[in-house]
Symmetry: C2
Subunit: 277 residues, 2 copies
Amino acid sequence: MKLISKAKAFGGEQRVYRHQSKVTGTEMECAVFMPRQALEGFLCPTLFYLSGLTCSWEEVTMQGLPQMHAAKHGMIFVAPDTSPRGDNVADDSAYDLGQAASFYLNASEQPWADHYQMEDYLTSELPALLVDALPVDEDAIGICGHSMGGHGALTLALRHPSVFHSVSAFAPITNPCACPWGRKAFEVYLGADESLWQTHDACVLVGTAGWKGDILIDQGLADEYLEEQLKPWAFEKACREAGVDLTLRLHGGYDHYYHFIASFMADHMEWHALRLE
Amino acid sequence: MKLISKAKAFGGEQRVYRHQSKVTGTEMECAVFMPRQALEGFLCPTLFYLSGLTCSWEEVTMQGLPQMHAAKHGMIFVAPDTSPRGDNVADDSAYDLGQAASFYLNASEQPWADHYQMEDYLTSELPALLVDALPVDEDAIGICGHSMGGHGALTLALRHPSVFHSVSAFAPITNPCACPWGRKAFEVYLGADESLWQTHDACVLVGTAGWKGDILIDQGLADEYLEEQLKPWAFEKACREAGVDLTLRLHGGYDHYYHFIASFMADHMEWHALRLE
């Protein structure tokens, strides 16, 4: 974990790390906000935030203002990258495939499988690296995310409840098997067998795996992707049928982007803080 | 005032306008956050924020998170551009001269004088346009800014106390006649006569013009420009000698950039809200 930048913020420190990943076979970057308590060495609850298509760790770090709320709650805030990157890493000219569009799974198909192993990276390698290097309380790690990253947060939490102890999302892709973004990515990364796709679909997973706690989702109703790609009502129904306690907040007038995320970041951070204490 | 984008944020609306400026002879862009009260048509106190070198309205709008605090206080937040722009507008390859580096004055020298009339734009044309189009309370307009924009805020407030009723700054250039950024810009925009420069130097102006209220400045002590360019102690001394009540907060560990600004944005917004009511 090589520190490549740092800046004081809200009494803590916003850092960016770079490290060689054995899992992806590439260098990975990751932004970490350290509240004052973490700088003083106290074990801290930690929130992972997975970003959406076309983004990196940078947008939420600079535009979501997580630092204010993380400082208030004494939480470490971790923003990983959205995929492996590099000249030798498979890519696609489409914005919704390849670099910055990993969908946070382990690809089984070539040419993707060599580097696109984001599920292992985010649920095993990166948490271990962070716990080793920083005062991350491994028994108090939560996960949230936006859009493709909301899909990542929901599915990684549901598939790895021993790693993630709380989960929330902003405008997540909830039912990827039934939307164009998800179907395109799953076919390319996972192959033609749709039964495998279902193990990465939050609407299916919440029924098969359940969830030990409750779930928070915020969704803007002026979001251009609401009907075709995000389908929060599908997840609401799946949670209700599975007996999982979902809070789904639908916000008139809000769109898909960072003003929407920033508007509700405080609520998500408090939600996780209350559940990770 | 043509609306070119909008997004809901914190119950209000973040807008970007474009308009033809008679003063600069160019199209100008300007970001405006409208709190809920303004959307409902109530006259609102309004804060102008002038950005620093290399920036436009965009950085503070996306990275400073003024919307949260403006919504809380029911204030309109206006982020103008840092200079006229365009292919037909004089420019320089240096980052500290030309487009995005106007120093917020009326240039008297060519080739700058044709378009670089930012003082008239910000103190006359833009306030009038905003008051005409939006529920801006013209008797409750404050101004703040960062770095070159801190210089702009201080000097425009001191030179136009009937326009701006409160003033604060983040890491401002306080004594441009005595720092490289200021001396370079003033010679190019105003010519060789240094007596003219002094009428745009906050340290001089606070002694000659005084100020009707108090002034807030935040300054990071890990700011790379502190000693050579910003010199807050020069302004502290000038205010003390002029009998003007300055609050100068020096923050160990903070640098010059947006994590610093965001960390103290809430305090500046509250400062202006309390003085503009």
